[in-house]
Amino acid sequence: MSWIDGLRHRVRTVLRPGAYAQELADEFSHHRELHGAGGGSPFGNATYHREETRRMTWLAWTDLLRQDVGYAWRSIRRTPAVTAMVVITLALGVGVNGAVFNVLDQLYLRDPAGVVNAGGVRRIWTKHTRTGGGPIFYSRAMAYPQYKVAAEQWGDTAALAVMTLRGDFKLGGTRAGVSTNVLFASANYFTLLGIRPFKGRFFTAAEAATGVVTNQIVLSHRYWQTALAGDEAIIGKRIKLDTSEWEVIGIAQPGFDGIDLRAEQAWAPLGSLPGAVSARYETGSIWTSPRYLSFFTFGRLPTGTSAVDFERRSTAAMRDANRQFYGAFADTLSTLSLGGIIESRGPATPRQEELIITRLQVVALIVLIIAVANVVNLLLARAVSRRREIAVRLALGISRARLVRLITIESVVLAMLAAVAALFTAWWGGSVLRTQLMSDITFVQPAIHAHVVWVTLGVALACGVLAGVIPALQFSKPELTADLKEGTRAGGRRRSRLRDGLLVAQAALSVTLLVGATLLVRTLRNIQSIDIGFDTSHVFYASAGYDPGTAPPMAERIARIQEVEQRMAGRNGVAAVGRTALFPMGGFSFWSFWWGSDSSQSLQKTPPVGFAVGAKFFEASGMRVLAGRTFDDGPAAEGQLVVNDALAKLLWPGQDAIGQCVRFDKSTEPCTIVTGVVSTASRGELIEQPQPQYYLPIGVKRTENMGGTILVVRTAPGANLAAVEADAMALIKQALPNSYPQVRAMEEIVAPKYRPWRLGARLFAGVGLLALIVAVVGIYSTVAYSVGQRTHEFGVRIALGAQLRDIVNQVVGEGVRVVAVGIGIGVALAFAAGRLVKSLLYGVEPTDLSAMILAAVVLLGAAVAASVLPAWRAGRADPVGALRRE
């Protein structure tokens, strides 16, 4: 095709100009030779003609481009201060976006690697609406019998996969072994996703059937490479995970790590799920119990089945089934709905981290707008000072198009410099966001990858063009004679409405961001002042870990730890020591009970939850005994119970809870007597309604299987924490020689709960500060340039008797007036945009007036500060010089 030939020729000349020149010379000399033989007209000036011929190719264009870039580079180097300012501003603006996009991309835009036609994969979600009116939440988890119900409605069982995840197996069976997440899946897991084996094979439907244990395993390519050193002969070998052996039958295709945000390292047949055969629940085995809510499903809708149709039918079927499974306490309002393969896209309500990251991207875009406005302003200001140069060029006949191109290329070159810096910002910022905000996600891609690079470069390029074209268009149409005569001196004569407009926009957006930052910082303060009911500062928890399969029997561990508790009690630096089965805010148990003629199962809205603790737990963890006393220690505590304030008020409103009778399991069981009421502590979240909770003693029949091997230690005031911790670890090691003792400060345990709040406040404050700095730079440079252009005017005014104060007042007043307009708009914007951040706030309204005032005052102060220096300089203008130039 001819146009392709032409294009190839064009591209070749541009890419290999040297080769083209050589060919041209050859061609000419060949011509000359033939010409010598045949006679005719000679070439004349061959060099000139070669040049002329060359102009016929694309080289003419690249020559010009090279000229323009060279020119731009020289002019950039002439003004290093402006260059630095522009590059830094753009690098921050673009870099912040790159960093946030990095995480956003992973969460929302990236289909899991390797999946064929990922758009057709549907996950089944359940929207739970507790019949009693509890909180609505979405979950993908279902019990195996529930999966069966869904599969029946799906139409084609082969098109719906079911799986369950078991995390943190240790490779090799030792505690230090590589942590391995294994997904136990039906055989259609791989076929539905279109994943192929890289080596070996996947398991068959027969091998994955429930009730069949094959202990086969398929490894991810990455895991095979890293944990098993890419052993070529791995197929058929056995690997040890915790205490059991698994036969490797295949390696999945490279790049596939499962379809969830947390990567999987291996896949095993569903039926081989550990414990599936032996474990029994009160309602049956894993495969028949409606209580084992650990299975997930996804599939491809069979042709002829619509999503809406499935949702309607399956919801009805599931409600019927749930009534059978759970009896009177079934959630009869739950609905099933379908979501895509990218989990963050819903339908579940976004997690707080997701809220932060999406809001942050909006904020980052605002920062970018501010940055671009700033850069346009700086370039406009510089264009003013180059008005004479531009006029000369126009007078000498440069075309307007070429001039616009010249100026635009300059800003594009600047933007490309900024892009390099922005890539570093994006890489660094992206890594920080990943580890700080999204620590529970396995990021497979490096912090900087193709998506981020393209977005960063693209955004930088767009900013460069935009920031160049605007000033270029404005200044390529000057009043020639006036500009040639007056040059830069007349610059301030006409105050640029465009520049004022940009300044207003900058101020407005900065105020909006500052309001946001103030709100989030205040939110963090409110969160931190929430009383969670536990002492966080002088308390640590000590426990013992074991290599898989080597832990002594539970009864022995409890007994040993109890000895350690008794020994710790008298030690130096220990104020109190107790025991518990679970870490605080780290889980709870349910036991159903009766009080009077009512069952605890009727309390669906706020179901009471229980904990197994030692008698000294309350004192050591920082809970207060409000009434009565704690239960006794050891077997003497049989038949005793402690409730918290919330439960006491729920069960016996207006009565004394002490001495009340509670019957566990059945209304005919003997009484468990309430011995005390303790203060209400957080059940699991920082923000929660007071949750009814009760505490059963460790060492009684009912808590036999609950454990109770975690020590909680409160140190005495002024005690050396590290020494007490070391003491506790040594005592545990002594009592349980094959254990690995570990300690965690209470602060460390609750830190993850505060982290999103803290990070949100920090990020928004950082970005707000960034916006403030950029805005101040913008105000300063605008005022400074405007003043620089008007030295003449100020000189004359001073000669006429104006005082320094008058000039300063005038200049500052001019600057502040523009900014004040921006602040007004910004506050209005903040009001309007409040809804966007509402979900990130606690204890403060998005329309909080004091936050608005604070932000406005800060920016106003910054504006005054930024214009005082140039104003003072204006006031020092030399009247003699100014008049002489007249």
Partner: protein, 110 residues
């Protein structure tokens, strides 16, 4: 990109070059010789102008060039017409004939 004016003179040169190449692929000298012979020496194309025209036509995809051996067994750049070049020749021929006819009508007017 700099564009050459497409006045009648350049059009003449282009149509002559394209016509020459329509018969057979040849090198720049061959084109120039063909035109001189065909016009009995009354149109002599300046060599520099010829190469400008050839390279411009190549840029626009009307002709394609490749290296081959010439009659004196030297390396030479042979130009051939592309399909786009053929279409261009047809259009230029028609335009040229119209032009000649128009001029002729003016000159023969009484």
């Amino acid at each position: 990109m700099p564009r050459e004016s497409n006045g009648p003179l350049q059009g003449t040169l282009d149509v002559l070059v394209l016509r020459a190449l329509a018969l057979q692929a040849t090198h720049g000298y061959g084109v120039s010789e063909w035109i001189r012979e065909r016009t009995a020496g009354s149109i002599v194309i300046e060599d520099a102008a010829l190469y400008k025209a050839l390279h411009r036509l190549e840029r626009d995809g009307a002709v394609a060039a490749e290296w081959g051996a010439s009659e004196n067994n030297r390396k030479a750049r042979f130009y051939r017409l592309t399909p786009a070049g053929r279409r261009l020749l047809k259009a230029e021929e028609a335009a040229w004939n119209d032009y000649v006819a128009a001029v002729a009508r003016v000159l023969s007017a009484t």
